[in-house]
Amino acid sequence: MARAEELLASLIARLIADARHVAVGAASPIAATACELLRALGKPLRVTRLHKRKGNPFTEGSRELFDLAGQGRIDYFFLGGAQIDGEANINLVHAEGRRFPGSFGSAFMYFTCRTVLFRDEHSRRVLVPRVEFISAPGWSPPEVLRRGGPVALVTGKALFRWQPEKRRFRLESVHPGHTASAVREATGFDYDVGDVQETAAPSAAELDLLRGPVAAHIAADYPDFAKRVWS
């Protein structure tokens, strides 16, 4: 039986399976696990780790990440939000009177990379009808040059696909132990519903990789996370 983190990592790995270069930050152990799983499966994936000296290839300072992304040299990036709305706008600044750290590079990276939105908490507090502050917009009018944008929203309960032409999410799958109606109840924005599946669990081979080489790799960069999931 896969743990929740293993299920999410294998799901994200499927979403970014065509990636050649992914950048992963300090707050994204599950995304990092997904990348290591792809590498363990034999994909020639370059993973840039933003918070580690080892695996961080930048010699021009922290601006180089954005220069690299601005040229289209990073395929996928991961963003979250204190709030995320049904138009895929994200808010990292303030919500319900609370101040959060800030927008970081989101207002740029969301335009340059295909982006998987990830937030474990799936509640009406987080998934709101309209964000209080747009750190980075989910879509842009046609005259705005934009190579990247949302591809999917992954939460602890479900997977939503982004539909760029409709500018709306579509519920694609719910994770084992959750139901489509409970997801509707816990989601503050409206969305389309297709043929909703149960999110596929990692295969036995994937689980072996996750618990073997991937866990060993992740433990070096995210020791607390690895300990929680695999010990």
Binding site: H51, G97, R99, P101, G102, G105, I134
Partner: protein, 246 residues
């Protein structure tokens, strides 16, 4: 951090902090100690230790001004100053509420495009002072920062640059081809002081790591005003050598 603790002891006031591109423990300490009027940054956080509690509370209560950025806009604004131009364009950002918070940003039409192509212009930023810690300074006044080239960008753009260093080295590091790419030349450096373990509880690559336990302790203590004052008493008001791990 040694310089930050000294600023608090000197009761610095009305500072405007610019995060390049983000701020952390230094900013949280200065804010909690009442040294700061405004914060300009893409984010303020303690990284893996979580939210910056003194920043969050001061921002929520409106005790400090906050101007929100996004990381590449900070770099672009400083790079404009490096080049001596009044502004530089930056892709992305359009449609973000960040734009409305900046009188120093403008959205304009790309003059070289035949079709509609709106683009953001970011005004140059020239900080009064750059302040950071580095590994080495030499007799010629050069400072070595290695791959942390954003420190060079800050030094190039700031009117004055003050640096604390782990160690002084003899000679001129620019004579060493392997060290030269990691150097900020003396041209940009106003003053240097030695401060061994001066980054603590943060780290210096290859010398000492981040003191994660200390950061976690701070993050917890600083959740309350009383806890924060206790931290200042212990680690700032009386800088005790013995509190610094060997």
């Amino acid at each position: 951090m040694v310089a930050v603790r000294a600023l608090i002891r000197r009761k610095a006031r009305n500072l405007k902090l610019l995060g390049v591109p983000v701020l952390g423990l230094s900013a949280d300490l200065l804010i909690g100690a009442g040294c700061v009027a405004e914060v300009h940054s893409s984010a303020v956080s303690l990284g893996e230790a979580g939210l910056a509690p003194r920043f969050s509370e001061a921002a929520e209560r409106g005790e400090i001004g906050v101007v929100d950025y996004t990381c590449p806009a900070v770099h672009t604004a400083l790079q404009a100053t490096e080049k001596g131009v009044p502004f530089m364009p930056l892709r992305g950002v359009l449609g973000s509420d960040l734009v409305a918070g900046h009188a120093d940003w403008q959205v304009t039409q790309n003059p070289f495009s035949a079709g509609k192509d709106p683009i953001l212009l970011v005004s140059a930023l020239a900080p009064d002072v750059a302040l950071f810690h580095a590994r080495w300074a030499d007799e010629a006044g050069n400072v070595w920062v290695g791959r942390r080239r954003e420190l060079a960008t800050i030094a190039h753009a700031a009117r004055q640059t003050y640096v604390t260093v782990e160690e002084f080295r003899g000679g001129d590091m620019l004579d060493d081809e392997l060290l030269a790419p990691g150097i900020i030349s003396a041209t940009y450096v106003t003053g240097v002081a030695r401060a061994e373990r001066g980054a603590w509880p943060l780290g210096v690559a290859d010398v000492y790591g981040i003191d994660d336990a200390h950061l976690a302790m701070y993050a917890k203590a600083a959740r309350t005003r009383e806890g924060f004052e206790g931290y200042l008493r212990e680690y700032v008001w009386q800088e005790r050598k013995s509190s610094l791990p060997a």
